[in-house]
């Protein structure tokens, strides 16, 4: 049973192995890397990208993509920033921010399902609309003077050196993992991404499933934004630019199939941590920052190539299994 479970997670194990290998290599190059403080830094670095990547994993599993998350992120930052500035209690502002993100995500979902738009184009459009709205909302200026009571929600350290934002990351990961693996919606999402026509012909409500998927994606972007807002203390309408690409990279490294139907939260989390560990590691050993882009890009390409090899291998293994089964029958 354990063996078969592990076999199903071969991709996650491979990413985990790569992560451990990376930590070992950097630790040898510079022992500072292995200190607990640095480990927390890695996770901190990975928090925002991790939450965004979890969100986009839902969109990708459904067979689509969401390019607008960086802009949803920005809108939530300025909106929640403004709410807290005018004195709305932090927790109320956070709930409203989450709802706002979910609504913006569901707009993407509705465009994609009801208007039958390509996810890439639909979210390319909303990406620009949301970014524009964030600027319009603040007149181009950042929202200043975020009250400390809001910032403390995410920055307080309840356990040792670990800020609450990291706890939020893990809480979101656990909840979304359960949603994806244990609910009907999660099962349907994989089915829709794996074969939309077959899912439809199995009585699955394809549109509803996709819209919920994009709402979760938007809500995750909102939470990432609210953490950013707490960390920086200002609501910058230009923030989050290009974050969607980092999120896609983390999901891809974690084994999410870009064509849909396959991917896990654990994989995406490990992917985000791997990219963060790489970035911090290169800073620690003093690699020129330009090279960091090059290395990150190479890692993404290797991960994608690994995916295609893995597909071929598993097809070969299955064929062998099938032959063996057929032989056993005779």
């Amino acid at each position: 049973m354990l063996k078969s479970k592990l076999k199903g997670m071969s991709r996650e194990l491979a990413v985990l192995a790569a992560l451990i290998l990376l930590i070992i290599v950097f630790s040898i190059l510079d022992p500072v890397y292995l200190t607990p403080g640095n480990m927390v830094d890695i996770i901190k670095q990975g928090t925002i990208n991790g939450i965004l990547a979890i969100g986009i994993t839902f969109a990708i599993i459904s067979g689509g993509i969401d390019l607008s998350i960086g802009c949803t992120f920005a809108i939530v930052i300025v909106a929640v920033g403004q709410l807290t500035v005018v004195g709305v209690p932090p927790l109320v502002a956070i709930v409203l921010g989450g709802i706002l993100g979910a609504i913006m995500g569901s707009i993407n979902g509705i465009l994609i399902t009801k208007m039958n738009l390509q996810p890439f184009i639909a979210t390319l459009g909303t990406m620009s609309v949301y970014r524009g709205l964030a600027y319009v909302f603040t007149g181009g200026w950042p929202v200043l003077g975020i009250p400390d009571n809001y910032r403390h929600v995410f920055t307080t350290k309840l356990f040792g050196d670990v800020p609450n934002s990291i706890l939020v990351l893990f809480a979101i990961a656990i909840v979304t993992h359960i949603v994806l693996s244990k609910t009907r919606f999660g099962n349907y999402l994989y089915a829709v991404g794996g074969n939309e026509e077959a899912a439809k012909l199995s009585g699955v409500n394809v549109d509803k499933t996709k819209i919920i998927g994009y709402s979760i994606c938007g809500a995750c972007a909102a939470f990432a934004g609210m953490i950013m807002l707490a960390n920086l203390g200002t609501g910058e309408p230009a923030s989050g630019e290009g974050y969607e690409l980092d999120a896609i990279a983390a999901a891809a490294v974690g084994g999410t199939r870009m064509a849909g139907g396959k991917g896990t939260i654990l994989g995406t989390m490990l992917g985000a941590l791997l990219l963060a560990a790489l970035k911090i590691g290169m800073i620690v050993i003093g690699v020129q920052s330009f090279w960091q882009f090059v290395v990150t890009g190479i890692i993404i390409v290797i991960a994608a190539y690994f995916e295609t090899i893995q597909d071929k291998l598993s097809a070969m293994i299955y064929k062998k299994q099938e032959k063996a089964a057929a032989a056993a029958e005779k």
């Binding site: 078969s4 199903g8 359960i178 244990k182 609910t183 009907r184 999660g186 099962n187 349907y188 994989y190 089915a191 794996g194 074969n195 026509e197 077959a198 899912a199 439809k200 012909l201 199995s202 009585g203 699955v204 409500n205 199939r257 139907g261 396959k262 097809a315 299955y318 064929k319 299994q321 099938e322 089964a325 057929a326 029958e329």
Partner: protein
């Protein structure tokens, strides 16, 4: 008369099946030669061999007395001067007509395409064909008939001597068909050899000189069209050995109660005014040629396509099925024809594929229980004898028959009491076929009802309690077992309207 094409001892195997067995016949130069046979008789395979699509076959093909073995379709077109007009013509909509016709062989001036030369050459050909469009026109706005002309023009551009038309009139209007026939007669007058595949026998009598009939991969006979009639052609197409026929092992389970009634169901431009009843415990067959609208009727009943008008009643009550969820709720299940693209989810295990349509049954405190899914899967693997019996196995890696059983298990897991099988034995080996027939009998024995679409006449006659025949989107006959015969069904399926009126 010289032979333009000659087939000598042609045989071809697909994994597990012999689709052509020792085919011998010749096509004379300058004749229009019909290739006839039921679905699956081997016509398309033979054409694909002739046109270089299949290179791996036994026997020899002679072209103008010379032995040829084309490496690919382009080799056949360019070196063999032999072209095929496909059932679905391939036109690149973003190019002009001229670019389409010369694609890959554009006249050049230096390293640039010589468009003046190109358009002049093409316009000459189009003029010969009496086409109203020009080489410079965009291909995006061509009608089905015009696309057919583009394909024929392409054959002329390559100076083809032999041209095959595979169901050329399937998507043409009557007027377009007449125009096409005029062109064919002109080509023939100019010495062109035409191979003509069609299910419409009237056309064969209008346009063809001789007809070769294939059945189950064998060449039955070649007949002169002047000296034969419709009956003789059909008789030669269907006559087969009786052993291969599917038959019922249990007695009929048809009960009085009507579980499904369809009235005046129409989906514009696809099918019209379909009426039928389905009884409890009945296996109702839907016969007809590929493209007659059977699948579309079923998809519409199942809510996968929208109806234009008409009503559906279940158990006497008017029901509204707007989407597949509604169908599922009303207890209708569909096993689609294209298993790979429509039947199951890729990268997904048998357990999950079987559980997909009834996840609400496997909830434990609001969460989907993997154990319950697994138990359900194991239950059906045993009950339906699904092999290999590995719940974790990905469905896409199983054999066709077992995939079909996984899809069946999915519907049996739900409360569906009407199961629609669309070509359930397509691509399934003989042993699995027999098993699927037995399963269908078990299903009706348990008080459920089955609708089965099949293009294999012996199959549908063997298992159905009643057969509805469709032709070109309309119901042409409803037959009871004592009226079942391949000749009758084929006659209605090919639009034998006269007889239908007499019997109705």
């Amino acid at each position: 008369m010289k032979n333009a094409v000659e087939f000598k001892n042609i045989s071809k195997n697909f994994p597990g099946v012999r689709v052509l067995n020792n085919v011998n016949f010749a096509i004379q130069e300058g004749e229009v030669h019909a290739l006839l046979g039921e679905n699956g008789a081997g016509k398309s395979t033979l054409l694909n061999i002739l046109h270089g699509l299949y290179t791996d076959y036994e026997g020899d093909v002679y072209l103008n007395g010379e032995k040829v073995h084309f490496k690919n379709p382009y080799d056949a077109i360019v070196n063999g001067k032999i072209s095929k007009v496909h059932q679905e013509t391939n036109v690149v909509k973003d190019l002009t007509v001229g670019q389409n016709i010369t694609l890959g062989y554009e006249p050049k001036k230096g390293c640039f395409v010589d468009y003046k030369n190109l358009n002049d050459t093409v316009n000459n050909i189009l003029q010969r064909l009496n086409c109203r469009f020009k080489a410079e026109d965009s291909a995006a706005f061509l009608s089905a008939g015009e696309m057919q002309m583009v394909a024929i023009a392409k054959a002329l551009f390559h100076n083809s001597n032999v041209i095959s038309l595979d169901e050329p009139t399937a998507s043409l209007t009557t007027k377009e068909t007449d125009a096409l026939f005029k062109i064919i007669r002109e080509l023939k007058a100019n010495g062109m050899t035409v191979i003509y595949v069609s299910h419409r026998l009237e056309e064969i009598f209008q346009i063809c000189d001789r007809a070769t009939i294939l059945r189950d991969g064998e060449c039955i006979t070649t007949l002169e069209i002047d000296k034969t009639d419709r009956d003789e052609l059909i008789r030669n197409m269907v006559g087969r050995n009786v052993n291969a026929v599917a038959s019922r092992m249990q007695e009929s389970r048809v009960q009085e109660e009507t579980v499904l009634e369809v009235k005046h169901l129409t989906r514009n431009k696809v099918f019209y005014d379909i009426n039928f009843e389905l009884k409890k415990g009945e296996i109702l067959g839907f016969a007809g040629l590929v493209g007659s609208g059977r699948t579309d009727v079923m998809r519409t009943i199942f809510g996968a396509d929208k109806k234009s008008s008409g009503h559906i009643y279940m158990g006497g009550k008017h029901v509204h099925i707007r989407n597949t969820q509604d169908a599922l709720r009303h207890g209708i299940g569909l096993l689609p024809e294209e298993r790979k693209t429509q039947g199951f989810i890729r990268y997904t295990t048998n357990t999950d594929n079987i559980a997909l349509s009834c996840l609400e049954k496997f909830l434990k405190m609001g969460m989907v229980s993997n154990d319950m899914k697994l138990k359900n899967c194991e239950h059906f693997m045993k009950e339906l004898n699904i092999n290999p019996k590995i719940p974790d196995f990905q469905t896409q890696n199983m054999s066709g028959g077992n995939q079909q059983k996984v899809i069946l298990a999915k519907w049996l897991s739900t409360n569906a009491n009407i199961l629609i099988f669309d070509e359930p034995t397509k691509g399934v080996d003989v042993a699995a076929k027999a098993e699927i027939y037995r399963l269908m009998e078990d299903i009706v024995a348990s008080g459920k009802s089955v609708i089965v679409i099949s293009s294999e006449l012996p199959e549908i006659m063997g298992i159905s309690d009643r057969i509805i025949v469709m032709c070109e989107g309309r119901k042409t006959a409803e037959l009871l077992p004592d009226e079942f015969s391949e000749e009758t069904i084929l006659n209605y399926a090919m639009g034998g309207k006269k007889d239908a009126e007499i019997q109705a």
